[in-house]
Symmetry: C2
Subunit: 574 residues, 2 copies
């Protein structure tokens, strides 16, 4: 491919509307073009990258006995009604009517379609286990698309679905898939992607993992233990907090506390640490606006996902009205109105002598001892795990919080879909059961953008060899020099004949323009043919990541490049 003919503009300056580097680079480098909120077109370099990623994914899915199939993008609503998700998913599921007024949806995930495809096939236990997958366009009507290809509305995703007759079999396959994912990320150039335990959210099921690329611009927060290596999405990580009771529990006392609203106010007024306070965090259920009051230790925050999973419905931060019986800033567990659900976080276990709200304007209690004063209390985990907190695995104070981009996920779904959609098989005794499912996703475009985020400098991306749009970038500096042109032309032709993927810049532009364009294309190996090099009968081979730079005799250049390509490919695939 001659760079001169490559469709797409490259820009010198960072676009002002790009918050993250990969987004800016992919716009600057002629990779993507904005069409609408969260909707992009892709130019040739992106397409070449994503096709390579897709092929890596395909090979690894085939290696664990996956069968590539294809589900429709547009599906009838009736299918989603079978699983109950037509109702349960919010407005990120795009719904519309076709010309015959049939309700349809745009697929954002394909559990229903997978069950539909194999419901008849899988009627006997002898057919199990099996896995089907597709690589297909999906649409998710995100409220806040952001970051170029990181969070879009339309995207290409590999989604896989496995079917099993026992939980053990699912778990065995789940582990296989976990390993396949590790190979995929390694081959795609991000071997440092970590898998973290996660919340299963709307997918249903219990055990699930997210594969996270750690980066400060990530949208997710991940708790990682520096001691034992445990990692989990903050939404899923168990929060452990150790308390020591004071030897003596003081008596409760109602104290007049004008203008004392926040935990900070309380600490100042009573001269205590936040650990000695009991904070009320108030939510309302979306369905009926009924109140939920969660009591946590004053220095701890509520994790809404944990709370949502516990109460089993959607919630939002409360609007505390005058007549609801709660007192904003003065809500405590003693004497609280019956008009709400009261929950206690484990951070309050084994505490005493706490300050808490008095359930009365401008009053707090001191001397709260929950077990003494609130009757039979059950404690549950509703808290966000904290930096420096206790690792739920090794129990050391070794938790650090990192940010990450989710580039893949795997779920043990159980029978959520097979049960609701009436998929059954007969076991060897002729008894009917619902198959147990797993599902496994990777966003192709997001992975490409994540690799760019992980591997770039100020001048552009540094694509790893296995997914680079081209393997080698030939620069003919001063292509008006006949000798340069002839040498570069020959190198271009020879490399292509040898099967290398070459982008060739023989434009009559300055070396500066040529190199900055090459930086933006991020091809891992660059060869410079120039009058100066040719004087020494050499070409200059350099790595985009600056890891090597050689001057090689002209006649050895082709073989040296092929050797480097092979080395880099082998290393990634090893």
């Amino acid at each position: 491919m001659k760079l001169e003919k490559l469709v797409g503009d490259r820009f010198k300056d960072r676009p002002s509307d790009c918050q993250i580097d990969s987004h800016a680079i992919m716009v600057r480098g002629g990779y993507i073009k904005y069409m609408a909120n969260g909707i992009f077109s892709s130019y040739m370099p992106t397409k070449r990258i994503t096709r390579k990623i897709e092929q890596i994914i395909r090979e690894e899915m085939d290696a664990i006995d996956g069968q590539e199939v294809q589900f429709p993008v547009v599906m009838p609503a009736t299918l989603w009604e079978e699983s109950g998700r037509y109702e349960s998913i919010g407005s990120e599921l795009l719904r519309f009517s076709d010309r015959n007024r049939n309700q349809m949806v745009l697929g954002m995930t394909h559990e229903e379609a997978a069950v539909h495809l194999v419901r008849e096939y899988g009627q006997s236990y002898t057919k199990y286990p099996f896995m089907i997958y597709q690589i297909q366009t999906k649409f998710r009507d995100e409220a806040r698309p952001r970051g170029g290809l990181i969070r879009v509305r339309e995207f290409t995703m590999k989604d896989a679905y496995s079917f099993h007759t026992s939980q053990e079999d699912l778990e065995e396959y789940y582990d296989k898939c976990h390993k396949a994912y590790e190979r995929i990320f390694k081959r795609a150039g991000v071997p440092d992607v970590v898998s973290v335990k996660s919340d299963s959210g709307m997918m249903g099921g219990s055990v699930s993992h997210e594969f996270m690329l750690l980066t400060p611009i990530g949208e997710d927060s991940i708790a990682i233990c520096s001691e034992c290596g445990m990692s989990a999405n903050m939404e899923a990580a168990e929060s452990i907090i150790e308390n020591t009771r004071d030897d003596i529990s003081a008596a409760m006392e109602l104290v007049h506390t004008p203008d004392v609203h926040t935990i900070e106010d309380v600490c100042n007024f009573f001269k205590v640490e936040p650990q000695k306070t009991c904070k009320a965090v108030i939510y309302q259920r979306n369905e009926d606006d009924s109140y939920i009051v969660v009591f946590v230790r004053g220095d701890v925050d509520v994790n809404e996902t944990k709370l949502r999973n516990f109460v089993g419905c959607e919630i939002h931060p409360a609007v505390v009205t005058e007549d609801c019986g709660l007192f904003a800033g003065f809500t405590g567990p003693v004497g609280i109105t019956d008009n709400c659900t009261v929950l206690f976080d484990t951070s309050l276990q084994n505490t005493n002598n706490l300050i808490c709200g008095g359930n009365k304007e401008e009053y707090h209690y001191s001397g709260l001892d929950i077990d003494r004063d609130c009757g039979n209390v059950e404690y549950h985990d509703f808290a966000k795990i904290l930096e420096g907190g206790i690792c739920p695995n090794c129990k050391k104070h070794s938790i650090s919080i990192s940010r990450g981009i989710e580039v893949g996920n795997i779920f043990q779904l159980g029978t959520k879909y097979t049960k609701t959609m009436n998929m059954t098989y007969l076991d060897n005794n002729g008894e009917a059961h619902n198959p147990i499912m797993g599902c496994y996703g990777i966003g192709v475009g997001r992975l490409a953008a994540s690799v760019c985020e992980a591997h770039h400098d100020d001048y552009g991306p540094i694509w790893p060899m296995p997914i680079a749009p081209w393997q080698v970038h030939v620069c003919a500096v001063r292509s008006d020099d006949a000798e340069v042109k002839a040498c570069a032309d020959k190198l271009y032709a020879d490399l292509q004949s040898a099967g290398a993927e070459v982008i060739y810049d023989d434009r009559q532009v300055s070396a500066g323009v040529m190199f900055s364009d090459a930086d933006l294309l991020g091809v891992p190996v660059r060869v410079v043919v120039s009058p100066r090099n040719l004087k020494e009968n050499c070409c200059e081979i350099t790595a985009r990541d600056k890891s090597f730079s050689y001057k090689v005799p002209v006649e050895e250049t082709k073989d040296k490049i092929l050797e480097i390509i092979k080395e880099l490919m082998d290393k990634a695939n090893s």
Copy 2:
């Protein structure tokens, strides 16, 4: 791949709801599964076939300097408003609102997206020509999906868009693309696809060709000249009709003709041939229900596409009301109401002594001589070309009408989109022009189904080697026989190691079941390992299309198969 693990059921009987063979076969063979009207999921064999077709298309598009890109499936309505198609296309364009109430469409073709992608890039004449293409899911809300993958609502299509600075350059590229299409269809196993001149319809532009697989189940009618080879879609084929005037034109005479409504009635009443009658065919414009009366010779039918193109708007057969001034069954060109557009077909040129309607209930005229009686008449081509009609190319009476499936099309679009969407480039004098576009489509799934339609027998498809789901099908007949099992296992392993794509049937089922399943998978080369063959130290290699059958010594079997595969691939690619 072991057949035992292949997801998808195969059926013995033809499904009752399949009108065409390829549809029946693809359901029976576990290729596709119906999900909703015109919407299917695909199992692994289909996916393997379509991926191979896509790769053939990709190679041929790359060979004519195409650059693979990707456009969104979901696009903002505003983009389609720029070209005017948001209004002009009917309900086959699926329109809906996203969560923020923005109007969106599902892409059925991507001219607008193509212009959007390159509008800034193509601002200088130095960038031209270039071609971009994608292979992507599309949605067209067809009123009447039919025939399995032949006419669906959701489909995968390769669509390409080229941009030029002169008509000559477009034409040169158009010819290149025409040749690339011929190679694609040859490589996909349907070298007999013919290209026919076609009507450009909603795409705009003038010159266009459809690539047709001739088959009785086709939806399109094609006029083919048996003398000169000219071929054209009936909708685009010029109709030529020769008339000879009678020496003497009789005077016009109003005749009372009660109960004489049809041309047949007229011929019986007046004792004339239909060629001596002038028929009125009445339409209404969709936009305002205004009337259009087309006069044609009595034995000729109106081609609505030609009429639609001439009047430049959508039309429908008229409802002739009492007060509209027209008389159903009695409408003629003399004394017709001013309240309608009157058109004359060329079939009436050089005629006289015709019978026509009297524009009065129960009356006809005899002795019509249009040139004498109707003033300055212009004749245009509105007629359907007829079997046995005159070839517009060689002028012989040698037209035959065939049916065909459209598997691809190419259009010279001109500046329709670049003009409306304000895409311009500066020429070498600094003057601004709109680039000239071409567009080029192939339906991937429809091509797969068409190949099946062209190559099948009662037992299943006969896939051509380059697109077959697998290249060789190994049948271990009596796999409970240890020797058979060992030999077949080794053959399976050896063939795979040698890079062949193998499906392996080692189920313990009867030879009958095994062979009928193999027929349904349609793999071109079959090897049978059986106790009987092994007694002679042989394997049996047969072609799915029965073109060869060999008994080969066991130790030579692998090499013989590899040789056959290579031969069949080379032949298709030659």
